[in-house]
């Protein structure tokens, strides 16, 4: 690894870095040094690193242009280990830390010598915007091959290939006033609100709060401006009602003043979050802020000028030059040419000369500028060339000169002879664009201000902007605006705040700026050297002109055709220039061309941070029953049913499964399910049915309500009895089913499917609250209160009798009765409901006692062969009986009649119950509707595939007319055969017919249409 320990561009004093604290870092394999307080960008500049990346399309060498979120070029791949990789980190926003390791995202074999740049140089011409759309079309079959090569050039950084060692979290915040941006306006606003006692959050995206005050040339209260900022921050930090969030970017403004703030908590400390007391804190945190009012003090972005070869390393925006010098003590070059359209840009030249380096010239597009800063520059002896601009930069890997000429801004042409000035740095300033991104996230369209030469935000109710963010650019004005807008915001909340006294600041006269976006060149734009507008996507002024020539006149078309503004900087530097160039080409004004819409995020945020803690084990709740531990301890495999984990089957460990098997091998699923099925049919099994939804219904009108919401009749259900019910939507399609028991005259217990529980509960409330509020009835979920265990099989009565005081006599406690009593000493309700077709007792026990009852059953169950079974066996057993599973045998397009369940439809009920009307619609009356039937495979060894499609003519050519599909299919150890349930067109009148199931493996199975009831059609077994 090479090393470079000098920092040739570092000043000996000044700036906010800590020279006593040296940090070493590696960039593209070379070790460098920087200081605490540096960003990666300032450290690279201090080491004289010119080329930090290669451009995306043309592979041109690129250097650092800006100092903040607007930086388009300096994107790096961060991370020394695979798991810690972070792609596309903006070097201007990455604090330096010891051992930082970074690489350019583009450039092969390296950024200094990039093989692709040759293609860029030669081929650039052949890659106008939209060139993909015009080529690679012939022959059609080749596109996938072309694309393979095109994709090789895709992307900037790369994704890590290992799991993230870090985690992230969310913090839900609430405040009266959220102030975004801690520059002059933001600090004043924060202070004003804070002193009023309001709950205030003040956030700022930079490593340090203070914004432009940190590199200002101006004095506040006769001291450097940053001193004032430090005092204010200190005061704010001591107030309980204020939350200060540095390193925190407001990345999205959502409805009703919901703002997401991304706080980089540890990214300045290392590539992964360092341990604190053995605990790894969240690497970064999303604050989900619900604010009463929001004040945007987000400042402005400087616009670069668009001139030839303005992408060569050494071209920077003027403000960035000042920031590097004054804040980081780094001068990014030796000889400066400044090209500006406004007074403010002059600061760069003054700072440069203060740093002891040479200013070759200030090239001002205006004639006779006369502001105070201009005067100061003159007084310092800087050459000022007025009415002129830099036409193009010279140099390849670093600026070597600037071609400068007089220009006629209005006529968009060069007005004089060009002169080449030798220099290594060109700073440009084309004016300032208020940072309106967050305001436009709300959907409010910004409006163009001709005086400010920029878009100013439109603000929805409750949003305020102050300072540069709304075009109030001067320091004194910005401070005053901050306090005034804070007062306004608080007044809107009905709170009062007093404006606070401004610090003393010298007034400064600024001469008017001029509008210049693209600098004219002697050659027409299409032939001139490349004038970059969007550096990240290699969009040039020529590309924009070409797009407009081709008829792309809407700014949205221009953007999409050229890809302008689609980079990770979202066009912060280039968009306004691009719009202005499009406007020029179309002969329109900028507001006529329109604005672009900014979308969240303001700057990119990791998926991990947005996901927060809802990852891995906490991705989504797992719901457990009261018996879960027992299931785990007995080796259950689990099935996901909604959020529940239900035992699927209980594979047993047996000493010897096959002759070649090793001891301790577990049963296969098929073996386990067959064993469980036979246990229920021949002895006794037990199922944890606690996940079924249970709703306690009370009220004098409970019975009436049930009659309206279920398809079948409830008027005569006696106390002590239970009934199966079907629930439809008003379109007549089945939505849920279950049994409901009459606990007392005005008291019912409804059960629902596991997955349908929450939906049914809301459904009942919906009808009650919005349609039938006159009914006196209440619904309370008791799903979690009761654990439910089903004891079923021929031996169920004998087993239960051992531990209950309930009279289980078949006449005293009949099928579809329920009784109250004790089981294992615990008060319970027992329901004689059967979903297996066998004698069955469903025991409801208060969940805290469930484990005791369950274990007691097993203590007594051994001699009866008590076998736990899971959902798979439950499915086989119920299917053998033709019992449906809502959501498996139905899909939202099935009526009770389609299921052959006319017996559960109360055609003559007096009230027009939910779903009734739809049953007489023309489509519902069709005779060829898909109807539920049984299928018996001709070959009993065959278990049809669930989801297999059914045809009548297996020899029909594709496309084959399909008449239905298999909804449930299993092997029945009782029948020793496969069997299935299916829906078949007109199935109820096709009994005995043969149908065919052509499968993916080429086989076609034949099956006979039979009744849905395969076992015990008379229901004798459950009535014993």
């Amino acid at each position: 690894m090479s090393q470079s320990l000098k920092q040739p561009n570092r000043l000996h004093e000044g700036g906010r870095i800590d020279r006593s604290h040296t940090l070493s870092f590696t960039f593209n394999g070379t070790r460098y040094q920087g200081h605490a307080g540096d960003t990666l960008a300032s450290a690279l500049l201090s080491n004289g690193v010119d080329i930090v990346n290669r451009s995306f399309k043309y592979s041109r060498p690129r250097g650092i242009v800006a100092a903040g979120a607007e930086e388009p070029n300096a994107l790096v791949q961060l991370g020394s280990s695979e798991a810690a990789q972070v792609p596309n980190v903006r070097a201007t926003q990455q604090a330096l830390f010891e051992g930082l390791t970074a690489q350019s995202t583009n450039g092969w074999p390296n950024v200094q010598r990039d093989a692709m740049s040759l293609i860029g140089k030669l081929g650039g011409r052949f890659m106008p915007p939209g060139f993909y759309y015009k080529t690679f079309m012939a022959p059609a079959s080749m596109w996938m091959t072309y694309e393979k090569y095109i994709r090789k050039g895709a992307g900037l950084g790369r994704s890590p290939m290992e799991r993230d060692p870090d985690h992230y979290d969310h913090l839900h915040q609430h405040c009266d006033l959220l102030v975004i941006g801690a520059g002059p306006a933001g600090l004043m606003a924060g202070l004003t609100a804070a002193r009023s006692g309001a709950r205030v959050i003040l956030c700022d995206e930079q490593e340090e709060m203070g914004g432009s005050l940190l590199d200002s040339r101006e004095l506040l209260d006769h001291q450097p401006a940053y001193r004032w900022a430090e005092r204010v921050i200190d005061e704010l930090g001591r107030l309980d009602n204020v939350t200060l969030l540095p390193r925190t970017t407001a990345n999205g403004y959502h409805d009703h003043h919901f703002v997401t703030l991304h706080e980089r908590r540890t990214e300045h400390l290392g590539e992964t979050a360092p341990l604190v007391d053995g605990v790894r804190p969240a690497r970064s945190r999303m604050h989900r802020v619900r604010a009463g009012q929001v004040l945007l003090a987000t400042g402005a972005h400087e616009r670069p000028l668009v001139y030839g070869n303005n992408d060569v390393p050494g071209n920077l925006i003027a403000g960035a030059v000042s920031t590097y010098i004054r804040r980081y003590g780094v001068v990014p070059g030796e000889k400066l040419v400044l090209s500006t359209t406004n007074d403010h840009g002059y600061r760069a030249a003054l700072d440069w000369i203060d740093a002891g380096r040479e200013v070759v010239a200030i090239v001002d597009a205006r004639r006779n500028p006369d502001g105070d800063l201009v005067a100061e520059a003159r007084a310092r002896g800087i050459r000022i060339i007025d009415g002129a601009a830099v036409l193009e930069a010279r140099g390849e890997k670093r600026v070597s000169g600037a071609r400068v000429a007089a220009i006629d801004v209005a006529a968009f042409k060069v007005a004089g002879q060009a002169e080449t000035l030798a220099c290594d740095t060109i700073a440009s300033s084309g004016g300032y664009s208020p940072v309106i991104h967050l305001a436009s996230h709300t959907g409010a369209r910004p409006s163009w201000d001709d005086e400010l030469l920029g878009f100013v935000p439109s603000l929805v109710k409750g949003v305020h902007a102050a300072g540069s963010a709304r075009g109030v650019h001067g320091l004194a004005e910005g401070l005053a605006d901050g306090t005034a807008k804070a007062c306004e915001a608080l007044a809107a909340l009905g709170k009062s705040a007093d404006a606070i006294a401004l610090p003393q600041v010298d007034a400064r006269y600024e001469s008017t700026a001029c509008a210049l976006y693209q600098v004219p060149h002697e050659k027409p734009t299409l032939r001139a050297p490349k004038q970059f507008v969007d550096l990240q996507n290699d969009v040039t002024a020529a590309a924009i002109e070409l797009a407009t020539r081709e008829g792309f006149e809407s700014i949205e078309h221009v953007k999409r055709y050229t890809a302008m503004g689609f980079g990770t900087d979202q066009g912060k530097l280039g968009n306004i220039n691009g719009m202005a160039i499009a406007a020029r080409c179309l002969g329109k004004s900028i507001p006529e061309v329109g604005t672009t819409v900014f979308r969240p995020n303001y700057t990119p945020v990791t998926f991990g941070a947005i996901a927060g803690r809802h990852c891995r084990e906490l991705f989504e709740p797992k719901r457990y029953t009261a018996l879960h531990q027992w299931h785990v301890e007995h080796g259950a495999e689990f099935e996901d049913v909604g959020q529940w984990k239900r035992p699927w089957y209980f594979p047993q460990v047996r000493p010897q499964v096959r002759p070649d098997a090793t001891n301790g091998e577990r049963e296969s699923m098929a073996e386990a399910v067959a064993r469980e099925c036979l246990a229920v049919r021949e002895k006794v099994g037990i199922l944890d049915a606690s996940t079924l939804g249970k709703i306690d219904i009370q009220g004098p009108d409970a019975r009436e309500f049930l009659g309206r919401i279920y398809t079948n009749k409830w008027a005569k259900l006696a106390v002590g009895r239970a009934r199966y019910g079907l629930m439809c939507k008003d379109d007549g399609m089945l939505m849920d089913d279950g049994t409901t028991s009459c606990l007392a005259e005005n008291h019912f217990l409804m059960t629902t499917t596991t997955g349908g529980a929450a939906g049914v509960m809301e459904w009942l409330e919906l009808w009650h609250q919005t349609e039938w509020p006159e009914l006196d009835v209440t619904f309370t979920s008791v799903t979690d209160h009761w654990a439910t265990m089903t004891v079923t099989g021929p031996e169920a009565r004998k087993l239960l009798a051992e531990i209950t005081d309930i009279d289980l006599d078949r006449d005293a406690f009949q099928f579809m009765d329920w009784r109250q009593g004790k089981v294992a000493g615990v008060p319970v309700r027992v329901f004689r409901i059967s979903f297996t077709g066998e004698l069955a007792y469903e025991i409801n026990v208060q969940a805290n006692y469930a484990m005791h009852v369950w274990k007691t059953l097993f203590e007594h169950g051994d001699k009866y062969g008590l076998t736990p079974y899971g959902t798979e066996t439950m499915h086989v057993l119920r299917a053998e009986k033709g019992f449906i599973i809502a959501g498996q045998d139905t899909d939202g397009s099935v009526t009770p009649e389609d299921l052959g369940m006319q017996w559960a439809v109360g055609y003559d009920k007096p009230f027009p119950w939910v779903g009734k009307r739809a049953l007489s619609r023309s489509d519902t009356r069709r005779v060829d509707r898909k109807q539920l039937v049984g299928l018996k495979p001709k070959d009993p060894k065959v278990v049809l595939k669930e989801g297999a499609q059914i045809v009548l003519d297996p020899d029909h050519a594709i496309p084959m007319p399909m008449v239905g599909h298999v909804t449930s299919s299993y092997y029945s150890p009782t029948l020793e055969s496969g069997f299935a349930l299916a829906v078949v067109k007109g199935g109820h009148s096709r009994m005995g017919e043969t149908v065919y199931l052509p499968m993916a493996d080429g086989k076609t199975h034949a099956a006979e249409i039979v009744s849905t009831i395969f076992v015990d059609p008379k229901g004798a077994r459950q009535n014993v």
């Binding site: 409805d255 919901f258 809301e762 919005t770 509020p773 027009p912 739809a918 007489s920 619609r921």
Partner: protein, 124 residues
């Protein structure tokens, strides 16, 4: 993300606590059997879907579990009011600036305030 005033809880809550349930004030026909297939289909499926002021049924699902109505602008997403079941909106497409509360109350009395209005969202 919306900030919704629940008229029953009498405070603003986050949208995550609520479920939208479609257009408000859609009453089930009194006598479904008397409806033609067309009328029944209209009741089940056909909706206003306006661009602008819209009345919606919501439920405070994670909260008091009460259904209530929201008048909301479907373009700006501004919530103009929330009101309990059986109440009439102040803000409508015809009166985007809002009618005086007294007018609305007077209308309700005239219509028979004791009769709770039936109004419901999609049931299909």
């Amino acid at each position: 993300m919306f900030h919704i005033y629940c008229p029953y809880c009498e405070e603003h809550r986050e949208e995550e606590e609520f479920h939208p349930k479609g257009q408000a004030h859609i009453a089930r026909p009194e006598d479904p059997e008397a409806c033609s297939d067309e009328q029944w289909g209209d009741y089940l499926f056909f909706r206003d879907n306006p661009r602008g002021i819209h009345h919606e049924l919501w439920v405070h699902a994670v909260g008091c579990r009460k259904f209530f109505n929201i008048t909301r602008n479907t373009v700006s997403y501004e919530i103009l009011e929330t009101y309990k079941m059986g109440e009439a909106p102040r803000f409508t497409a015809e009166h985007p600036e809002g009618r005086p509360a007294e007018t609305v109350a007077a209308e309700r009395t005239a219509a028979g305030a004791d009769k709770v209005e039936r109004q419901q969202g999609a049931k299909a």
